[in-house]
């Protein structure tokens, strides 16, 4: 992707200038994370996040910023806590029995956790795309129209039609499904289903889209389409993506966070992580010595 290097280079400077001021504070906060976990255009701000499953601690004091209109990739070996961390961002962990989240998490300054926070509007602002494509067992139209309907964004049929069309267009699915909007969403191919799920997520105009290994169940061609789509979506949305594929992280993201055993080891511009990692664990992982 030609635009990426340019972008990444531009952002490197911005991030560095911010860090000169905040570096001391940051290093005091997280002793273990190396690189540049913070940025001044932060959309999502996480500080000292600890996640427990019962007695076991899954995430150890992670601090990270996710910048506006940025794609942040989270990589790491299986069980390193990257999915758990991602699911804290729209509180999908709430439903897991015995799961406890500590730390400060905020979206544009609004707290994500707290006794007064309602998850319904939060999840409308922070959408999610899952590992396995999971369209509702309803028609393609209803899949996309569901979010706008329940949030009362559009009630008139014409408005809904418009949202459905524009969402499907943005997800690059419109031309393939425009003649069969009333057909079941589960009848589409895996790649189309995942794009339908993306269309469904963007139909409520979220600010952030969380993607939990969105391509792991797809073939290379479908994967390439989703990756292209992610790059286009960056213009309007902030995206956090968990991936097992380092190539994918390198292709779609501007910043990359490397997780290891529940700790955030390194955060840097994607190019730096893949060409010149600061931490030896990161290097070991990206060169394929474990993972």
């Amino acid at each position: 992707m030609s635009t990426m290097t340019l972008d990444a280079a531009g952002r490197t400077e911005a991030a560095q200038s911010e860090l000169t001021g905040g570096q001391i504070a940051a290093s005091a906060e997280v002793r273990k994370t190396v690189g540049k976990p913070f940025c001044d255009t932060a959309k999502l701000r996480m500080r000292n996040v600890n996640v427990f499953y019962g007695e076991a601690q899954a995430i150890h004091s992670v601090s990270l910023d996710i910048g506006r209109n940025q794609v942040v990739a989270m990589i790491g070996p299986s069980g390193c806590g990257k999915s758990t961390f991602l699911r804290c961002l729209n509180r999908m962990n709430d439903t897991i029995e015995g799961c406890r989240v500590e730390g400060e998490l905020s979206l544009d300054g609004d707290p994500i956790y707290g006794p007064k926070v309602d998850v319904v509007p939060l999840r409308a602002r922070v959408g999610m795309v899952f590992q396995k494509p999971n369209p509702f067992p309803k028609s393609i139209y209803e899949n996309v129209a569901y979010g706008p309907k329940i949030h009362g964004i559009a009630s008139r049929r014409a408005d809904l039609d418009e949202i459905v069309e524009s969402s499907l267009r943005r997800a690059g699915l419109w031309n393939e499904v425009k003649d069969r909007l009333d057909k079941p969403g589960t009848g589409l191919s895996g790649g189309q289903q995942q794009r339908l799920c993306i269309a469904r997520a963007i139909a409520v105009s979220p600010e952030v889209i969380l993607m939990d290994e969105p391509c792991s169940a797809l073939d290379p061609i479908a994967t390439a389409r989703i990756e292209e789509l992610i790059d286009e979506l960056r213009e309007n949305y902030t995206i956090a993506i968990v991936t097992h594929s380092m190539q994918q992280a390198a292709r779609v993201s501007q910043r990359t966070a490397y997780f290891h055993l529940g700790r955030l080891v390194e955060v840097n511009d994607t190019e730096t992580v893949f060409t010149n990692p600061e931490h030896e664990l990161t290097e070991a992982y990206i060169t394929g010595r474990f993972g």
Binding site: N90, M92, T95, E97, V119, V120, P121, L122, R123, A124, G127, M128, F130, K132, N134, P135, F136, P137, Y146, G147, I150, H151, P184, T186, G187, C197, R200, A201, V204
Partner: protein, 428 residues
Amino acid sequence: MTNLTQAQVRERIEKRLASRHRKEKLFRGLGIASIAFGVLAVVILFSDIISKGSGAFMQTAIQLEIHYDAQVLDIDKVDDESLAWANFSGVIRQALRERFPSVTSRGEKRELYTLVSSGAPFTLRDRLADDPELLGKSEKVWFAADDDVDTFVKSLKDSKEGFRGRTSEQKAGWIEQLLDSGELKKRFNTTFFTNGDSREPEQAGIRAALMGSLFTLLVTLALSFPIGVAAAIYLEEYAPKNRWTDLIEVNINNLAAVPSIVFGLLGLAIFINFFELPRSAPLVGGLVLTLMTLPTIIISSRAALKAVPPSIREAAMGMGASRMQVVFHHVLPLAMPGMLTGAIIGMAQALGETAPLLMIGMVAFIVDVPAGVTDPATVLPVQIFLWADSPERAFVERTSAAIMVLLSVLIVMNASAVLLRKKLERRW
């Protein structure tokens, strides 16, 4: 483990192959044998019931020439009052005497009069009420024969002798005479479907029990389905998993195993003694059966909810749907077929339940067809119990016929459950 060559390994595998195939075949054979046993049991049950009960759908009837003689009837006009005390049996007796003029002695006459059902005067009253013009005229009327006659005629088919029982040789002669002249015939037994219970088999019907069962089931369904589904949804989707919910779960499972008679006692003590609801009423029966079917419905509904893939829940939650929206928009439609199956199984159980209803008085002898949930009523299985207990031989076939009706209601219920499931099940 010693080092084996590939050839040795193959040899070992092949040596065991024959016995593995043999076991496979044996297991399959056992499966087929079990199914065959089940099918055989069903065939024996059905053929026995049908062979015994099919006779009840036919009823022997006797045709008599009736003169609506105002003098014998002892009335001069037809109105409600006169119909109530008109001497219809006199007219019938006269007709019988005219048909068999050779009968003269008192004893013989008395026996002659027992040819037709003791309900025959009511048949005549209804005819006259329908058409008051008949007064003073004559017509041929079919009357239900007495149950002894009915039993005798039906048994004639197999052997020339026939089952006589209380029927004397002379009476048998009259019957054969009527048979030969075509004045005695077997006709379709509509009474069986239109009447309530009766001490006289030829007047007994299952209408009252059927309606009683219907009302009872309606009450049960209206209460147990919403309560059961609501409880299942709360326990499965909302309740935290802690010691209390574990305790509740254990108790629900225990309730499913409580003998039904205990629920009957509970209903007697609480609904009738404490709340003073009417005895023998479908309302109380339905309440008791609700208690009994609730565990079944809760357990099966929870299983259906559990079977909904978590990915659908996650998808809806990720869209910002509230818990209730997740449940009602996504989980419930997918779980509905399973819930309905559970409900129908519970209903079928309730339909066949007898013991708890005995405790709340639904075993009483009730002739009237109930018109509502508070009217005294009985239900099909209790009716079967009552008839099976009756000494008259004609009740044997009626018992089997009632069983057939009960079974067909069950089959219809189960079939509709399957259809409903097919219809509700997502095509995708």
